[in-house]
Amino acid sequence: MRSSWTRPPGWVLLPALLGAAVVLLPVIGMLSRLDWAAIPELLTSESSLAALRLSLWASAAATVLCLLLGVPLALLLAAAAANPNRFRAAGLLRSLVLLPLVLPPVVGGLALLYTFGSQGLLSGALEFFGIRIAYTSVAVVLAMTFVSMPFLVISVETALRGLDRHLLEAATVDGASRTQVLRYMVLPLLSPALISGAVLAFARSLGEFGATLAFAGSMQGVTRTLPLEIYLQRETDPDAAMALSLLLIMVAVLVISLAYSRSRSTWQQ
C-alpha cells in the first residue's frame, strides 16, 4: 500500500533534477575554483583552526541549549494546540517563536545587541550579576541559539502531533505520572525528530553569520567563527576563503549524514 505512494509519477524527475542542480551547481562551481594543492596549508593556519574549534564547540553548545529549552517549548505548544481553548494562543506563540526563521540574521543580531548589549534592555541586571556577554563566546552561542531554536521546535512539535494520544492516555490511566510518560514513552518515540531537529539546529548554528557579526563582534579564538573567518579571508585571500568554505561544507555533510544514518536505524527498529 505504501510502496505505491513512495514511487512518484515519472514527470517529477525533471523538476527534481533542476531542484538538485539549483543547490549543487553553485557548490560545484566553488569546487572548480579551489586550488587543491594549497588546501592543507590554507586549512591548518592558526586562524583557520581557531575558527573551526570555536565554530564546533559553540554550535554544539547552542544545540544543547536548543534541546534543553526547545523541547519543553515544543511540548507546551503541542499541548496548547491540542486544547481548543488555547488553540489561538498557541498559534500566536508559535509564530513568535518561529520569528528568527524570517528575520534577517543581521536584524536578529541587532535585536540581541539591544537586549544583551552594554546599553541593552538587560544591561542593568547583567551588570549587577557581573555577567558580560558582548564580545565573548557566550554572545556567539546566544546568537546561534536564537537563529537555530525554530528548527528544533518545528521538528519536535510536528512529531509530537503525530504521536498516538490514546497510547499515552492509556499509560496515564495505568498509573504512570506525566513525567514518567514523558521520560519513558514520549521522548523515546520522539528520538528521530529530536535527532533531526538537533542536526538542523547544529547545521544552522555552524553556518550562522549575520547575527554573530552584528552582536558578538569578530576576534580570533573568541568570537570569530568559521563563517566570519571566511568573510574576512575573502578580503585578502579568496583562495583561503574557498578552502574554508569547503571545510565548512565537509563538516556539515559529515554531521548530517551521520545523524540521518542513526535516525534511519532508529526508524527501522
Binding site: Q119, A134, L213, S218, M219, L232, Q233
Partner: protein, 250 residues
C-alpha cells in the same frame, strides 16, 4: 532627475551582478570605495551639470570592487580607499594608465559622547578595561591602525576586530564600545554621536585614495575627463575636504 540617478545607483549597487547596470542614461560607470559613496555622488552631480554626462556609482568595499571587476563587471573608473587594493587592480591588468591619488584620509580616535572610559590617547587603548574596537589588519583601515600602533609602540587590546570601518563606527555610536579607530571622514559623519580625538602622527601617515581609468572602459575619454575633474576641480576638492578628506600635494 539628478536625485533619481543617485537613487538608482544606490539601489543598483548590490544588484550590479544581476545586470541592473544596464541603464541607457548612465554613460559613465564609477566603481568607488564605500567611504567615497556620498562625496562622489555629490561630485558626480556637479560633473553631470557641467558636462551632461550621467554618472552611475557602484559603492562597495575596495577589495570587493576589484573582485567584481576581475570577474567581468564592466566599469569606466575605479576609485579605491587605499593604494594596496589599487595595486592589485593594476597587477591584474584591470586598469589602463597610471592611478592618481586624489585624496587622503587619516585615522582618528572616537569615543561615545562624554568619553565614559576617559580615553585620552592611543596608550589608553592598552588597558583591557577599555572596550576598544578596531578594524582587522587585513582591511585598509586595519592596516593603517597597525601602522599607527607600531610607530607609537602601543599594543592595542581590542575586544573586536571588525571587517569594515563602518562596523567600528557603529559599535562606538551605539555605545557598545568605549573607543574605536576610524577615518576622519567616518567620525565627521557621526558628529554629535561620537567624540573624535586627533592622534599624533596619524595625519602624517594617511591612507591615500587613488583613482584610475579601467581597461574595459566603454568611453575612455569620458572616464579621463571625470578623473581630471576629480583631481583638479575646486568644487570637487572642496566637497572632499568638507567630508573630512585631506588635500594631497601633487
Amino acid at each position: 532627475m539628478r536625485r533619481s540617478s543617485a537613487l538608482i545607483s544606490t539601489i543598483c549597487a548590490p544588484a550590479l551582478v544581476l545586470g541592473c547596470a544596464d541603464d541607457d542614461d548612465a554613460e559613465l560607470q564609477v566603481f568607488a570605495a564605500a567611504s567615497l559613496h556620498s562625496v562622489l555622488a555629490e561630485i558626480a552631480e556637479i560633473y553631470t551639470e557641467e558636462t551632461g554626462t550621467e554618472v552611475q556609482i557602484n559603492a562597495a568595499g575596495s577589495s570587493t570592487l576589484v573582485e567584481q571587476l576581475s570577474h567581468g563587471a564592466a566599469a569606466d573608473v575605479l576609485a579605491t580607499a587605499d593604494e594596496t587594493t589599487m595595486e592589485q587592480a593594476v597587477e591584474s591588468g584591470l586598469t589602463s594608465g597610471d592611478p592618481e591619488v586624489f585624496a587622503a584620509n587619516h585615522l582618528v580616535l572616537i569615543t561615545p559622547p562624554g568619553n565614559p572610559a576617559e580615553v585620552q590617547g592611543l596608550s589608553d587603548l592598552q588597558d583591557s578595561a577599555v572596550d576598544t574596537v578596531v578594524c582587522t589588519p587585513q582591511v585598509p583601515c586595519g592596516a593603517a591602525t597597525a601602522r599607527l600602533a607600531d610607530s607609537a609602540e602601543v599594543g592595542i587590546q581590542a575586544v573586536s576586530e571588525e571587517t569594515s570601518v563602518t562596523d567600528v563606527l557603529g559599535r562606538v555610536r551605539s555605545q557598545e564600545a568605549d573607543a574605536g579607530l576610524v577615518y576622519a571622514t567616518d567620525a565627521l559623519q557621526a558628529v554629535g554621536e561620537v567624540e573624535a580625538l586627533e592622534l599624533p602622527g596619524a595625519a602624517e601617515d594617511p591612507n591615500y585614495y587613488p583613482v584610475a581609468l579601467l581597461e574595459g572602459a566603454s568611453s575612455a575619454e569620458a572616464g579621463m575627463e571625470f578623473i581630471d575633474f576629480l583631481l583638479t576641480n575646486e568644487q570637487a576638492q572642496q566637497i572632499l575636504q568638507e567630508a573630512g578628506f585631506t588635500e594631497v600635494d601633487r
